[in-house]
Symmetry: C2
Subunit: 326 residues, 2 copies
């Protein structure tokens, strides 16, 4: 039986699914509950859903909410951890939602809030691919590119909780248009969204690709990481070339953060990294090495895939809560 | 009379001059000594010069070396602060020089070593243009571009003392060749070296410029910041256009670090920033604003010129020593 008040509920509030993990003081997962996210409702409705999933998970762990030390949520957007506010979460349609205070009013336990990529990186740092290192950069490649910086074991928050946005560092002046309105951001060069754009452009130019056939068969309207993997298995040349280009740019992005932040480890997470593992990481590493500034970095910096998969965010939210609550 | 053992000697070991400041516990400058750097000697010779300048400065302050708490040196290269070693200082021709231990053997006081840009940024943070902010990024534009990150009032060292190398983040894939061997680094786009290259290219193309005439008259073989200022005063169109381009890229660099690190203040130092002040900063700010990701950053982040000039490094070395010695 876990000691009372050591158990924390970690919640990963994703654009597509909502996941709550009940985690002991020894980082054992006591229970897991998940449900699809329904973003087509008012924030209050989704916050009620979060409360419900958290309560179910606590019940499933054989505990009562009053035995829980805190609920810690990773949210898909910019957050103010000090006030528990989600500033802007485009996938949820949220602007300045007081998630922390509102969830606390429902659950009557302390609630902590941070960005989903921040908590995912802290998860990998403490319990996954970042273990053993103190200075870690997490890069999550999905529909966008997110990042988080861990310095001496602590998340670098910046002055307003916004640090880590490496997806929107400009890497190619006058490059392709990014969703943020700028040109040549890392995200516009190497995210899944950028890859899908490049595959579409290649097909439009007359190159043959099975990507859209696979998407149709799978009833997907986006080029998800599972689509990418299936196209590669069919030896789709367009897919391979587009992926290689993204890997090249991701390598430069890795080198930029290594040159700037001098970490010991870079953890690359997200669907593609999980599914392709070393097949994805090795070319990124090769490109990064071509752009390293310091000779010692070649021997010292390890570039690895994330290990925690879908649990990274919820586990990391628990670890971060424990750091902050002391 | 300053209290014994509160006084620290800050040394700025520059490629052209060597400067020692004797600084009280209240950050009053008690004495200043300087001498030209002679890099055409063995490291031991230059280290003896440092010891001599430090001793002269201490004498000029009416103190004895045994009354000094520490000597803290900013060196122009990559350093290992924990061991007091300068890994690589190209301007001095140094590789793996044990500056700290060797200087300590001469002076018999504790010696601290860090990178010159790191100490300059800490100086601006504590005593110059960064005052009042806790999260500050320093960008120094000279023959190269150096940087330093201050998070919650402490220098971000990275795992091996190398953090801050924002001059070698790639901003233009396939851009102009950098001194480091890569292409499209910030330094290859916006340093004085890059500007001189661009002026030369414009003149070669047939554009008229007074820059080289001014350099010849001033007996300079490099386009120093004073040459730039003189050319601008003569309304040299090539110089103005080249400077504007550099300012545009510096703005993107500023936006990249603001997006990534979420500081409250960005301090831009170096000769051009000092001489041109707001004329240099305003266009950088405008370009940065065009590349900011977060709306709140427009109101919150201040982009300013450094204030401490040639004393930034030596003063910062003192501040950093006081932080480290506790």
């Amino acid at each position: 039986m876990p000691r009372a008040k050591e158990v924390i509920v970690g919640v990963d509030l994703g654009g597509t699914s909502l996941r709550a993990l009940v985690v002991s003081g020894k980082n054992e997962v006591l229970a897991l509950e998940k449900t699809p996210t329904n973003p087509k409702q008012e924030p209050a409705g989704l916050i009620a859903d979060i409360a419900e999933v958290a309560e179910e998970a606590v019940r499933a762990a054989g505990l009562k909410m009053r035995e829980i030390r805190a609920v810690s949520v990773g949210a898909p957007g910019s957050t103010d951890p000090a006030r528990g506010v989600v500033h802007h979460a485009p996938n949820l349609g949220w602007r300045d939602v007081a998630l922390g205070p509102q969830l606390k009013a429902l659950l009557h336990v302390p609630v902590l809030v941070d960005n989903d990529v921040h908590v995912g990186a802290i998860g990998e740092y403490a319990l996954g691919a970042g273990q053993g290192a103190r200075d870690v950069v997490g890069i999550f490649v999905g529909t966008g590119i997110g990042g988080a910086i861990i310095s001496k074991g602590r998340l670098l928050e910046g002055s307003s909780g916004g640090a880590g946005e490496l997806g929107h560092t400009v890497m190619m002046v006058n490059g392709p248009l990014c969703g943020c309105g700028k040109r040549g951001c890392a995200e516009a060069l190497a995210s899944r969204t950028a890859m899908e754009r490049d595959v579409r452009a290649a097909v439009k130019k007359g190159h043959k690709s099975v990507v859209f056939k696979i998407m149709k068969e799978a009833h997907k309207d986006r080029m998800t990481s599972s689509i990418i993997v299936r196209a590669l298995k069919k030896n789709d040349k367009v897919m391979r070339k587009v992926l290689q280009r993204a890997e090249f740019y991701l390598g430069i992005l890795v080198a930029n953060v290594v040159n700037l932040l001098d970490p010991e480890r870079v953890v690359i997470g997200g669907g593609i990294a999980e599914r392709l593992g070393e097949d994805f990481i090795a070319p990124i590493r090769a490109s990064a090495f071509d752009h390293f500034l310091r000779h010692q970095d070649f021997h010292r910096v390890r570039i690895v895939a994330g290990q925690l998969g879908d649990n990274a965010g919820a586990l990391g939210a628990v670890v971060l809560a424990r750091q902050r609550l002391g």
